[in-house]
Symmetry: D2
Subunit: 359 residues, 4 copies
Amino acid sequence: MKLVHDPIHGGIELDEFALRLLDTPEFQRLRRITQLGLAFLVYPSARHTRFEHSLGTFHLAKWICGHNPEIEEGAVYAALVHDLGHYPFSHTLEALYPRHEESTKWFIKHSEIGDVIKERYSLGEFLGLLKHPLVSGDIDADRMDYLVRDSYYTGVAYGLVDLERLVRALRYDGENLVIGKKGIMAAQSLLLARSMMYSTVYQHHTSKIAGAMLLKAVELEGLPYTEIRSMDEISLVARLRKGERREVRELIRGIEDRRLYKRVLYTSRDPGWAAVSELKGELEAEFGHLAIVDYPPKPKFEEKNAFVEVGGVLHRLSEVSPLVRSLVELKDTYWHWGVYAREDTVDEVGVFMRGAVGD
Amino acid sequence: MKLVHDPIHGGIELDEFALRLLDTPEFQRLRRITQLGLAFLVYPSARHTRFEHSLGTFHLAKWICGHNPEIEEGAVYAALVHDLGHYPFSHTLEALYPRHEESTKWFIKHSEIGDVIKERYSLGEFLGLLKHPLVSGDIDADRMDYLVRDSYYTGVAYGLVDLERLVRALRYDGENLVIGKKGIMAAQSLLLARSMMYSTVYQHHTSKIAGAMLLKAVELEGLPYTEIRSMDEISLVARLRKGERREVRELIRGIEDRRLYKRVLYTSRDPGWAAVSELKGELEAEFGHLAIVDYPPKPKFEEKNAFVEVGGVLHRLSEVSPLVRSLVELKDTYWHWGVYAREDTVDEVGVFMRGAVGD
Amino acid sequence: MKLVHDPIHGGIELDEFALRLLDTPEFQRLRRITQLGLAFLVYPSARHTRFEHSLGTFHLAKWICGHNPEIEEGAVYAALVHDLGHYPFSHTLEALYPRHEESTKWFIKHSEIGDVIKERYSLGEFLGLLKHPLVSGDIDADRMDYLVRDSYYTGVAYGLVDLERLVRALRYDGENLVIGKKGIMAAQSLLLARSMMYSTVYQHHTSKIAGAMLLKAVELEGLPYTEIRSMDEISLVARLRKGERREVRELIRGIEDRRLYKRVLYTSRDPGWAAVSELKGELEAEFGHLAIVDYPPKPKFEEKNAFVEVGGVLHRLSEVSPLVRSLVELKDTYWHWGVYAREDTVDEVGVFMRGAVGD
Amino acid sequence: MKLVHDPIHGGIELDEFALRLLDTPEFQRLRRITQLGLAFLVYPSARHTRFEHSLGTFHLAKWICGHNPEIEEGAVYAALVHDLGHYPFSHTLEALYPRHEESTKWFIKHSEIGDVIKERYSLGEFLGLLKHPLVSGDIDADRMDYLVRDSYYTGVAYGLVDLERLVRALRYDGENLVIGKKGIMAAQSLLLARSMMYSTVYQHHTSKIAGAMLLKAVELEGLPYTEIRSMDEISLVARLRKGERREVRELIRGIEDRRLYKRVLYTSRDPGWAAVSELKGELEAEFGHLAIVDYPPKPKFEEKNAFVEVGGVLHRLSEVSPLVRSLVELKDTYWHWGVYAREDTVDEVGVFMRGAVGD
């Protein structure tokens, strides 16, 4: 047993097997993958990494299992390694490559950490556990950790959740983590926290611009999936700094010196992918890397589907909570897509777009 | 005016001139210099950087100046840029190169941030302000920020200081920041915090071992001062990973995979530099990079000299506080030097050293 | 200047005039009026009083005025004394007596604290300031303090509000405190906090039951307004303990030993005051003090009307925020009225009510 | 199982038996005994009571027992009721009556809570458990709770202790709670916290003056032990307000209106009890209740004797920690005795005392 200091959970206990998983290059790599990607350009203190988040998720998973002994033990280790496959700067690059869950599976199948896992579990069994509601549910250990952690590190107070109430109210019914009556208020507060973090932190336009610039740089550099998935932020940035194409070097430099592109367009009105895609093609043809279209996926808000037990009957959280329903309605108003351009090209892109629209 | 979120101080207000200083590659580089170097190998959450700390120091400096309008305004900008010259992983590499203060001066004289400074201040004047007690005193804005910040990020509760009481009690007498009677308790608690952080965090043997390994790698790589001072953690690590010598690559890999050297000797008994130096020579001759001698400087604890005003008379803090005197006595018991070796060489080095001593 | 320790705001500075106001029996009486009445029967730690809350409101009022120098200085002292007229156990007894604002005015006109006020202000002027938006607005210093304070003392995390952002975003336009664009998110979080505190703390059924018992005891004791308004919790409880009627002694004993009445009916369906009033008459006739009807006023949620300035135009907060609109819709679902009875009479009252309904 | 909200420990779980103990008039009385007596006159927020502290002590005791299953179960219930016998305003009145531990025993032997206890334990057995190191040791659940709690409610940051590290490091050896090596730093920080709380809060001169006034009032009122031990703060204050002697009414009024006596003498130089006692007699003869001598017991600092296990051998904490030794030396410098007088009599008493000393 080893106790690791953590500002969120106080102390995190790691057993022998968890320590052996930690003690692999694949897991240590997570120390060099920031949790919130480029959000530190807005919230300078948000420098926490997937490593601490993974420990925190493991800790919460164990806590939940303590109240639900019927959950298979392996699920807590799945919680520990569930983020293994994240790319540098976390979600930023997922638009170009397979979702990070694919990459997590690849690591488990083909690296040292897989060898450790195989001492105890068959690969098929363990890969199945990655989808366990404990770690991939509508309300799970993963979300509970990151909301509180992201709030602590950004200094934004919205992420406060009564973790203790929530953990105590979760019951595993063999298929789902079901929230008992006493946990509804805490679950609502988790969804509220998520909703407010979404609009103020996760979708802050400045980090979205920086992310779009990074994505463009990686795209231009042409890094294949087999290469990017093993990279960390050090190797990726070092590579881009020495990119063969001037555009790549210019983009990464802009991010690092915080000389970011500006918004030409930023709206929550969605013209549909076809129209955006056409615009993207035109802008690329005209301006190359100087104008970037950013069309992020819509927020899913799966937590609304979490099961709640009231009077012996299962309901969806959104059924019993008008507050949750209103948050669901709100979510699309927070979503934005945009066109960003290098500061000296903003006006020109604006003129071009008005022309395009005017056609 | 811009307000930056900060978990320690709530919001940090940045005026136009501060923003222009921030908006230089030299200052942005501080985002890639961790505050506590390799301490994250023990306290995984300690990923904060010199960037946030610089903002926090600026904030406290402004707060103190608000109560002491006779302090020259430039001192708060000196507080902002005081850490500009830190090397990658902060203090770790100072054993090989000039102190970071030298490097700070170099940046101010020869880079873009210097041009911004010169719009308002003469270089000589500004370089002088770097030694102002506001930022280089026995109790100053720098120490007040880092103790609280390091505590917040490591999750170690010892760093709690009543900043408000302390700030209000500080009075600038033209030469020093003097602590008024109402601030003595808060000043004591600052020294206590420092003493406890020193032994549990700053001098934790695991990060000292990793630091010694890094130092050896950089030494073997032979990086000149003119090169290292402009590097950040990305360029340094990328360089060492591709080091020409196998030893360099092996050392950095050991740090990154957290496969660290082990202690052969670890003691607070000081045989003096001459004896240690001789041992160092012998070990290097015999084991090369496989055994490392780590002989850190003794802690200085300058805070004990802070001036306190009681009944109109100035005293040293250590004169009026028996607690501070006892902390001063303690400080050497926390100091340790050591010999570390690669795990497979520990026994051999142990045998060799007993032989050496036996001679 | 005196600095008072406060866990919410750190230190609260009190000037000479504020200290003179504090130094009156009327103000010191607030130390013996708990902020949340009988909520400590559910949240044992909620023992804070109107005294601390008054200091906190004064502190926030001064902070807001620091950003809005055109607000008349007297308003901060109005903020300090705004709760002077609260009855023992705060809002609990307002159903029997004039609203506490009346009582505040009476104190200002007829007691020692009034003499202090008159040294600086005319009574008419000062009484007018009690309605200043700084202290009686839709979003004001009063609400900002109590939400955060109640959250801290109950241990319920829902009350978190980014006070700094909010204070900085408030601008006084001569008539209202208007929220600037940068404060909308913080204002939303204040309303969320209020909504969640309302349902979990302020309207917790257990403290409502205890409150209804206290109200009944005071009613039976027949205390006139001229007497109750000068009482504190010590004199009221001591009086009820020695009440002439056995019912009074029994009720206060039940509260103090936490042997509370139980719910016979508890519902958010509102049959209207006429129907409830009839039921109340029938139950009183049949069961005397053993059955109590509790029909609290509906929540008002005035914060929704706060003004927000976006693009130079004033809007109501509820107009620009769908989240706020949904909170407004929710508020009635949190409201409940009920019938409570002594444990040994619950069944009998239940049978009687079904009969009454059955008629 | 019931979960009670608590700002210090999050949630406190109460089992069926604990709930039955709570559900007695004796235990509910603790809601009306403030933890820090009259300290709220200096730290207005310090309104917490022995009730919450008792729950917190129970919680910590159960946590420690979770790691030490050989501790008899009854000890956690002893922890719950250990403060049952406190007089109104906690330690203030212990100078006039038996120590509160005597009164705790009396309640257990002669009241409803004793009947509950006897269902499970023999009285002799249970009274023995009150001396168990879990609750009456040098470092125990009682101290751990109150230090952190008092810090939280006063807003003084000095009481921070790493409870988790400490609890995990405590091992029961059949006789004592022994601190393991990993807990030494946390134990030191507990002692530091106590030392700083002692000087800034527990021995603050203003609450000592108010305490001395209360003691004098109770002495003049002549309340017998058999009466005071069942009183709470409401019945005591109500009684003193209606005291037959004018002096009694005057003293309690002075406390409640915060018109406190002033210091004529306040010193840490101890002339010995005989000399002080003589002075006390003379002052009483001359000034009656207008001058009060306050000669508090010296601090004991028993924590220094806590056992620490290093390398399999037991040591006293003060043996292994120079910091603790220096705190022990300091403790007497924080102790003060004093002579206080009503504001209009201060000068006269001063003159009289100089005369007395001059003899």
